[in-house]
Amino acid sequence: MEWLLNRIQGGKAVRLSLTYGQQKKWLGFLFSVPALVLLFTFLILPVGLAFVYSFMEYNMLNPQGKTFTGLSNYARLFQDAIFFTALKNTLYFSVLVVPLQCAVALGLAILVNKKVKTAVIGRVFFFSPVVTSMVVVAILWTFLYNVDSGLINSALNFFGIPSQPFLLSEGQAMNSIIFMSVWQGAGFQMMIFLAGLKDVPETLYEAADIDGANAWQKFWNVTLPSLKNVTGFVLMITTIQAFRLFIQPYVMTNGGPSDSTKTLVFILYENGFQFRDVGYSSAIAVVFFLVVLSVSLILKKVLNQ
């Protein structure tokens, strides 16, 4: 440290002449440099490059031959049927998974917030799928959804319902992924809601009791308004998370059957790393970024009202 301070001041015996205020300036700069250099190289620069590449014809197999081609990648994108399928699938997943997952999470949080002895067990059990990574969960559920020998179909048969194709059917594959995703993720949002519930003053419920409110009225008039900020935040992170859907279709269905589980990130991956088309894939990345950004801005605006 002394060596450094000496260097900074041109080798003079500066240790005494540098005030704490001056040291703060130099060291502040120095301490933040590693993080800033890394963030620039691996985040800011790639953001810029994504935009630049999206205007280029650029294949990874022929990096020398990259040329600017203006908006041609975007023109191609808006004529690409797969892109619209992927956009539709991503929106379908998000529109269903976000309210479902948040509602389940809130319900579970209210349940395990009750003063009963089993609440702690409930917290651990409901949270346990979150501890399991998405890849593990996706592989496991591929077995559970199996048509002939899967656990879920054997449970359905037990109740007299015939076996369902689940992941093998165009109509059921995405819904199956949604169901699994809600199960995997709800515990995460439950923890956030639970922290929010702890902050609701007990006196509000007591007052409602005196007024003779029933459980539903208490939920509607006390719990929900008190959780307004928390709910807004949970909706936001769940939505952004939902738009990033990739692992489930990649592992469970490989985008099928008949593209019914292809998502924006899936085709981004496919074009970038299977077809090695950097330019086209970057255009998808830019559109993906803009979609996520505008959805979060709209959501923010709606939630603020």
């Binding site: 993080a35 037990f158 956030i192 950004l293």
Partner: protein, 281 residues
């Protein structure tokens, strides 16, 4: 009397709902563990509730997945532990120093940098996937460990977590040390760090859990088996036709154990990591 009775029944009902729902929630994971302990022939023979009974339980699947020469599962585990461990260690140092500098050592431009860092938080990782690959490739890091580690050391959210915490440390502490002749680094090391253990634990655990389950990036940059991570490794096992289901279940269970251990031993900080982002957000 009637009211007390009613209240008791109410509590019993709630307890029952929690336990039943809880069992339903955990049943897929229970099935995974039970299947990992069963001989192959029984896994899909046992149906319904029977499939949750650990009949003829043994550790053969675990021994097979860990010690068969053709399956490098242990290697995958080590690759993940090593790369994620490096991210956690280097990340907490780099991000906490940066946060300290931005909050406590306010230097020219620190306000602007803070705004940029918070703005970066909104960029979804997937949108920089391809250019990041190009950058990492230009460094010659494809299929080398730095590709799994270096891009993830500095993290906007982690810096943000540290900033939130450091703001709460009173300046008087810092000033007292300063009067004793400490320089800013000594203040950080001897005053700030010892007083910030919870946020270090939270940031480290959050980073570990996040990167332990990373899939897409390792899938792209770690194609070589020598640095393949465990999440990608189990996906390969899954698509490999020669492997037995019991062994896959054993591999899935083993992959989950590190995070389970963290949850058991550091539950408080783990949950804090989730909620601190939520409640303040």
């Amino acid at each position: 009397m009637n009211r007390i009775w009613k209240k008791r029944m109410n509590k019993l009902g709630v307890s029952l709902v929690i336990v039943l729902l809880g069992l339903l929630f955990i049943s897929p994971l229970l099935w995974m563990i039970v299947a990992s302990l069963k001989p192959e022939t029984l896994i899909f023979k046992d149906m319904g509730l029977e499939s949750f009974l650990p009949k003829q339980a043994n550790f053969d699947n675990y021994l097979a997945i860990l010690f068969t020469d053709s399956v490098n599962f242990l290697k995958y585990m080590w690759n993940s532990l090593f790369s994620v461990g490096m991210i956690v260690i280097l990340g907490t140092v780099v991000n906490s120093l940066c946060a300290y500098a931005l909050v406590k050592l306010k230097f020219p431009g620190s306000g602007f940098i803070l705004v940029v860092i918070i703005a970066l938080y909104v960029v979804p990782f997937e949108s920089v996937l391809i250019p990041l690959y190009v950058v990492v490739n230009s460094f010659g890091w494809i299929n080398e460990f730095p590709s799994l580690i270096v891009p993830f050391i500095a993290e906007a959210f982690s810096i943000f977590l540290f900033i939130q915490f450091f703001k709460g440390i009173p300046n008087e502490l810092e000033e007292a040390a300063q009067i004793d002749g400490a320089n800013p680094f000594q203040v950080f090391w001897k005053i700030v760090v010892p007083n910030s253990k919870p946020v270090f634990a939270t940031a480290a655990i959050l980073s570990f859990v996040t990167h332990w389950s990373d899939f897409m990036w390792p899938l792209i940059v770690a194609t070589d088996e020598s640095i393949r991570t465990v999440q990608v490794g189990i996906q390969y096992l899954f698509t490999d036709n020669n492997i037995e289901y019991g062994q896959i279940m054993a591999a899935l269970t083993l992959t989950t154990i590190p995070v389970v251990l963290i949850f058991i031993f550091f539950q408080r900080y783990y949950v804090q990591g989730i909620t601190s982002s939520g409640v303040k957000g």
